[in-house]
């Protein structure tokens, strides 16, 4: 899940960066880019999305379920955010592929009779943008929709998925534009800084919120005994089980705390510094470094996100014996 959510986040973010450059170019606010710039950028975004899909396959019970059973995963879109994500993801991947093809072959058509070029790429771009945002919402809502995981059940969860994904995508776009020798470095770099700062604010807000959660469930509500002193003596087994392994990371609070500072430094502080220095000094090598640090930071951030969730089922599994 860590690789899946971070990789598709970069892919979606990079696409949104490309589309914003395309839209600004059409509005003549920024210089119009070559077709190859968008085609290659689309390919990079596609590779990240496919990497996420690859990670998703290994999240299933058996990888073979991907071929035999995963199609059923789209059937429950009325109720399940996971089902909705499973629909949004291939749409996003397919549209990114079409976007890449349209630009690579320089396809265009006067769809709306405006008489200006770039109407077909714009239409595909808008559709892909909608798909990217929808996918961000689905991914975030998978976690935010589980109401008793109080760390996740909050509007900040999808907001963070969106902002952290776009921030890493724009940082990669900055590095890409710099490597391409393109005039968009300042545009992407400034947006990368803005998005990383915004992500820092909302992620810090969720950390602040989660540190002062009032638990709704207690061992008293779990077994329905009203007494202030209730202690588990046996969880009904001597060995472990799925319930003891799946919902607790087994790490100490000090470890968790150090991961928090690592991800805050790697995801936000260091990339912000590197982006800023790179933009001021014009050192293009720093942008790729900023992206690598930010991506590694996001791996820590996602691990922390999952580890921080305190599942009420753990109330039933406190003591071996």
């Amino acid at each position: 899940m860590i690789f899946l959510t971070t990789l598709i986040g970069v892919g979606q973010g990079l696409f949104l960066a490309l589309f914003s450059a395309q839209a600004y170019g059409m509005a003549k606010i920024l210089p119009v880019q070559s077709n190859e710039f968008f085609a290659t950028g689309g390919l990079i975004a596609l590779l990240f999305l496919l990497g996420g899909l690859f990670a998703a396959v290994f999240h299933l019970g058996k990888p073979s379920y991907f071929i035999t059973r995963a199609w059923r995963g789209m059937t429950q879109w009325r109720t399940s955010w996971l089902s909705r994500e499973l629909i949004a993801m291939p749409i996003m991947i397919g549209l990114t592929f079409i976007y890449m093809v349209v630009y690579h072959f320089g396809l265009d058509a006067d769809l709306y009779g405006w008489g200006v070029p770039g109407q077909l790429p714009l239409t595909v771009g808008i559709a892909t943008t909608v798909a990217a945002i929808a996918l961000f919402i689905c991914t975030g809502m998978i976690y935010a929709a589980v109401k008793f995981l109080q760390e996740w059940a909050c509007a900040l969860t999808p907001v963070n998925y969106f902002l952290l994904g776009t921030a890493s995508g724009f940082t990669l776009a900055t590095a890409y534009a710099a490597a391409y020798g393109d005039g968009l470095v300042q545009f992407f770099g400034n947006w990368a800084i803005v998005l990383t700062l915004a992500g820092l604010i909302t992620r810090a807000a969720s950390l602040f919120r989660n540190s002062r959660i009032k638990r709704k469930s207690s061992v008293q509500t779990a077994i329905g005994v009203r007494h202030t002193k209730v202690q588990q003596k046996s969880m009904g087994m001597m060995g472990g089980s799925y319930n003891t392994r799946e919902y607790f990371h087994g790490k100490t609070a000090a470890f968790l705390k150090s991961v928090k500072w690592i991800f805050l430094a790697l995801t936000f502080a260091l990339p912000l510094f590197l982006l800023w220095v790179g933009l001021v000094m014009g050192d293009n090598g720093l942008f790729l470094l900023a992206f690598i640090f930010q991506y590694v930071g996001l791996l820590f951030e996602r691990w922390f996100f999952f580890a921080q969730a305190n599942h009420p089922q753990n109330l039933y599994y406190q003591v071996v014996g």
Partner: protein, 241 residues
């Protein structure tokens, strides 16, 4: 509408784990295939169980009491595990309210287990699908079994009859009467899942002893009588002492 469920009397459960073993036996021999059990006598034994008996100590020494607490899937009326399933493998039967997993549709994404606050679902590490209590759906409708034994295996095996089984929506059923008359309650009501399974609380048995019951008002056998003199004659009293 029928809602089958278990009602578990915590006042009676002695924590013998008979329900755990009979559940494992019945369901591991069933048509869905065995529930895995790895290294049962080795290090780190692990396996799938639909039912666990946990033990809690309530109060502070020396005023403590032990509560044995069996827990399986509660077959919630508003089951949070069902809507999150992306494949429809997890479903709640309309006809009797049993929550089931279709093992042939499950992709093992584990989302349903994260959506269950009770930890009632266990992932089968060998079949790579999610499993849970079926309320012995393959037993309670089996007409080859004598009618009075068409109950979940745990209910049949409980030596103290701590488990009742029936339709909690039928006000005249044994389970509804037990819930009504003994203050039956649900687990974690704060999440609004409306578990169908109920628990009957532990009850205190009290006895009032009046002072006149501590001293003998009359003493037909004259046990505390002080013998004054012994006569040479044997009296009835001597025989009685």
């Amino acid at each position: 509408m029928t809602q089958l469920a278990l009602v578990i009397d915590l006042n009676v459960c002695v924590g013998c784990h008979a329900c755990v073993t009979s559940c494992k036996q019945w369901n591991t021999s069933g048509q869905a295939g065995p529930m895995f059990d790895d290294r049962p006598y080795g290090e780190n034994p692990t396996g799938t169980f639909f039912n666990r008996v946990q033990t809690y100590e309530v109060g502070e020494f020396p005023c403590t009491e032990t509560v044995h607490f069996p827990k399986s899937c509660l077959h919630c009326e508003d089951a949070p595990c069902v809507p999150v399933c992306p494949t429809g493998a997890s479903y709640k039967r309309k006809e009797d309210g049993i929550v089931l997993v279709d093992y042939d549709k499950c992709i093992g994404c584990k989302y349903c287990s994260w959506a269950c606050p009770y930890g009632a679902r266990e992932f089968d590490e060998n079949q790579k699908v999610m499993k849970k209590c079926t309320l012995c759906v393959d037993r309670i409708y089996d007409e080859s079994i004598p009618e009075d034994r068409r109950k979940p295996a745990c209910v049949i095996s409980c030596p103290t009859s701590a488990r009742l089984f029936g339709d909690v929506h039928d006000p005249d059923s044994e389970v509804s009467i037990a819930i009504r008359e003994n203050g039956g309650y649900q687990l974690m009501p704060e999440w609004g899942t409306k578990p169908a399974n109920h628990y009957l609380p532990r009850r205190k048995t009290k006895m009032h002893i009046h002072e006149d019951e501590l001293t003998r008002a009359d003493n037909p056998l004259k046990k505390e009588d002080i013998r004054h003199e012994t006569s040479k004659d044997t009296t009835l009293d001597d025989w009685l002492m």
